[in-house]
């Protein structure tokens, strides 16, 4: 409805109080009123769009920040025993590939990949919402790791007879499932098993360290508006971030909410009375900004976490990517929540 055709179809919204005359002005006016009507239609439509986008939103953030993998299923294509041109659209899978020695087989990664440093030299082929299909195809990959929700991309790849590894999100334990599956698919099963064992033993060591200590009730924030306590999103009782905080010796205050993210309003936060507040971000920020962001919590000065200066801001990708560095991430969180346990 960008353009409103001239002329009057006779079904314009009735004018209030004025008599219509046949001047050009009035004709234009009636046309505009029809446009007004159409605009209303668009507004209604766009409000529905917002509702749709809202569900999309959960999916977007969660796919980026939280969660890990499960069940990679091969399509009907034949899979080469050791693919040599792998494309990964998932940062966690990319990290796994490099960690098990399959790095040289990777030809391209997503636009959000930052680790290991080798990925900076690789081609970027978009990400969850904007995969660059043309570039992916032109790189002639023999394995593409995609999100389960990227159904259009999967269809296109299947049509091109390119094998895919389908990744979807779950908890901390599923990191090991993904690792094993990825290892098998790329011909590094043994290295993957070794890596899984070492991650597991590190996690066990951390669990032992914090065992028996008072577990702080922790609010885990993974997004909010900058420098204000608005639009706070916190981890619910599902997903790998919830699991990581549990392994690090904290109790998530929203453990009972069966969602990966909770829009934490002021009331909910006050009612749950967290002993500690843990802000996790994947993007590094300056020390100055970090202290300012922590200072913002003074607005809720009565919270135990704020009164006891137990508000922490971790801007380290390790804590938000469910890849081979999860044990390091858990270690960082454990050091933050239980500094005494590591003295």
């Amino acid at each position: 409805m960008r353009t409103c055709p001239g002329g009057d179809g006779g079904n314009g919204v009735k004018n209030e109080g004025t008599k219509l005359t046949k001047t050009y002005e009035e004709k234009l006016l009636r046309t505009i009123r029809r446009c007004g009507m159409l605009r209303c239609g668009r507004m209604v439509w766009s409000s529905f769009l917002f509702v749709r986008l809202r569900s999309l939103r959960f999916f977007v953030l969660i796919s980026v920040l939280s969660v890990t993998s499960f069940a990679g299923t091969a399509g009907s294509q034949t899979v080469p025993s050791r693919p040599s041109r792998i494309i990964s659209l998932i940062p966690a899978v990319t990290e796994m590939l490099f960690a098990i020695g399959a790095g040289p087989q990777v030809v391209a990664v997503s636009s959000f990949d930052r680790y290991p440093p080798e990925v900076t030299k690789l081609q970027r082929v978009g990400a969850l919402l904007d995969p660059d299909v043309e570039r992916i195809l032109s790189l002639r990959p023999d394995l593409v790791a995609v999100y389960a929700s990227q159904s259009d991309l999967r269809t296109q790849l299947e049509r091109a007879k390119i094998p895919v590894y389908v990744y979807s999100h779950a908890g901390l334990a599923d990191v090991f499932v993904t690792l094993q599956q990825v290892g098998e698919r790329v011909g590094h099963a043994r290295a993957a098993a070794d890596l899984a064992r070492s991650i597991q033993s590190r996690l066990d060591a951390i669990r032992r360290r914090v065992a028996g200590r008072a577990r702080p009730r922790t609010l885990v924030v993974f997004d909010r508006e900058a420098l204000t306590l608005r639009g706070i999103y916190a981890s619910g009782g599902v997903g790998f971030i919830h699991d990581m905080v549990g392994a690090a010796g904290g109790d998530n205050v929203f453990a009972d909410v069966q969602q990966q993210s909770v829009q934490a309003t002021t009331e909910l936060i006050l009612a749950r009375r967290p002993d500690a507040i843990l802000e996790l971000r994947g993007d590094p920020i300056t020390a100055d900004m970090k202290s300012k962001e922590i200072e913002v919590w003074r607005g809720l000065a009565s919270l135990p976490a704020v009164r006891n200066s137990r508000v922490f801001f971790l801007d380290d990708q390790k804590t938000v990517v469910p890849g081979p560095r999860v044990a390091e991430g858990v270690d960082l969180i454990a050091h933050t929540l239980h500094p005494d346990a590591f003295k």
Binding site: V13, R39, R54, E225, Q263, T266, L268, L270, G299
Partner: protein
């Protein structure tokens, strides 16, 4: 003012006023958590240990007051725009205010402008400036080739600015990452959880200016509904009335959006419901809409806070779900 009108005005204001007061008093008692009012007001318990008092005074009361402020500003701005444009389907967002505000907020979020001044966050301040920029452009266009304000040009320019700013939003969004895209969507849904009184205080001067202007505008809007020429012959300075209406309603909308985001449909649902009850006289419609708008949004927010308990929804989702069907009914309704 005739005696009959004075009586109707008293009746209207006291009726809708009671409704607004009832909504504002009830709303802080209801929420996703159960609190005891006696405990909340018990001075013997230190505030730091009194969760009930904290929830009442830090979470619910500011949120309720924000709902009242945003609701009454948007509802009365809706009345003024409908009167000014002589179009019953005009809303406070028709002339590009919300798109301009969204673009401002989007820029602040995407490029991580991080400052906070007197409790006003970067996104709030940028959204207010964005809305002023949008209406400023529309106003300049409407003045360009016309002695007064051409309502035709206003409407066309507003619709066009909405489209243009929406396009700019998409362009800026291309530079945003996932978390930022997600933050702007959340901002667009509207949210009243302000968690302090500071944003309300910052919006107060605009609120006062707007409502003083609205009080003056009641009679001019009645005359304007007869058409510019008829209004002029009855002694109204049409250009001044239009200008006052446009500026004050735009300021009101900008202030409301900077506090609660672009909460949709209030500006059209409330004025029409009020007109069904009190008739078309702006001297009654304006105060009644301001009061009923407050009550309506506070009520919607109570729903938003409780329907999905223990989690809470942004209020814009509720107003959209109520307002969308209402809007359609308004479209197809027989006159």
């Amino acid at each position: 003012m005739t005696v009959a009108l004075a009586r109707r005005l008293t009746l209207t204001v006291s009726g809708f006023g009671l409704l607004a007061v009832a909504a504002i008093l009830t709303s802080p008692l209801i929420g996703s958590t159960h609190i005891s009012l006696r405990r909340a007001f018990d001075r013997a318990i230190p505030f730091a240990d009194n969760v009930d008092a904290q929830i009442f005074f830090i979470a619910r009361l500011p949120r309720t007051l924000a709902g009242a402020l945003v609701g009454s500003l948007l509802a009365s701005a809706g009345v003024v725009f409908q009167g000014l444009l002589r179009n019953p389907l005009a809303t406070p967002f028709t002339l590009g205010v919300s798109a301009g505000a969204a673009l401002g907020a989007m820029l602040a979020i995407t490029f991580s402008w991080s400052f906070a001044w007197a409790g006003v966050s970067a996104a709030a301040a940028a959204s207010f400036l964005g809305s002023l920029a949008a209406v400023g452009i529309v106003y300049a266009l409407a003045r360009a080739r016309h002695r007064g304000l051409s309502t035709n040009v206003l409407l066309l320019a507003g619709v066009t600015m909405n489209a243009f700013f929406s396009a700019l939003i998409l362009f800026v969004q291309y530079f945003a990452d996932f978390a930022q895209t997600y933050r702007i969507l959340r901002w667009l849904m509207g949210d009243l959880d302000i968690s302090s009184y500071q944003p309300l205080l910052s919006a107060l001067p605009l609120l006062i200016v707007s409502f003083v202007s609205f009080a003056w505008l009641a009679r001019p809007l009645n005359l304007l509904s007869l058409g510019d020429e008829s209004a002029e012959t009855r002694g109204l300075n049409v250009v001044r009335a239009q200008r006052t209406a446009f500026v004050s309603a735009s300021l009101a909308t900008g202030a409301a959006v900077s506090v609660g985001g672009p909460v949709g449909f209030i500006g059209i649902v409330v004025p029409h419901l009020v007109r069904l009850i009190v008739g078309p006289d702006h001297r009654l419609v304006l105060p009644a809409s301001a009061l009923f708008g407050a009550a309506f949004l506070v009520g919607c927010d109570v729903l938003a806070r409780t329907v999905m308990s223990p989690v809470e929804l942004p209020v814009g989702v509720i107003t959209a779900l109520i307002g969308g069907p209402f809007f359609l009914w308004l479209l197809v309704r027989k006159r």
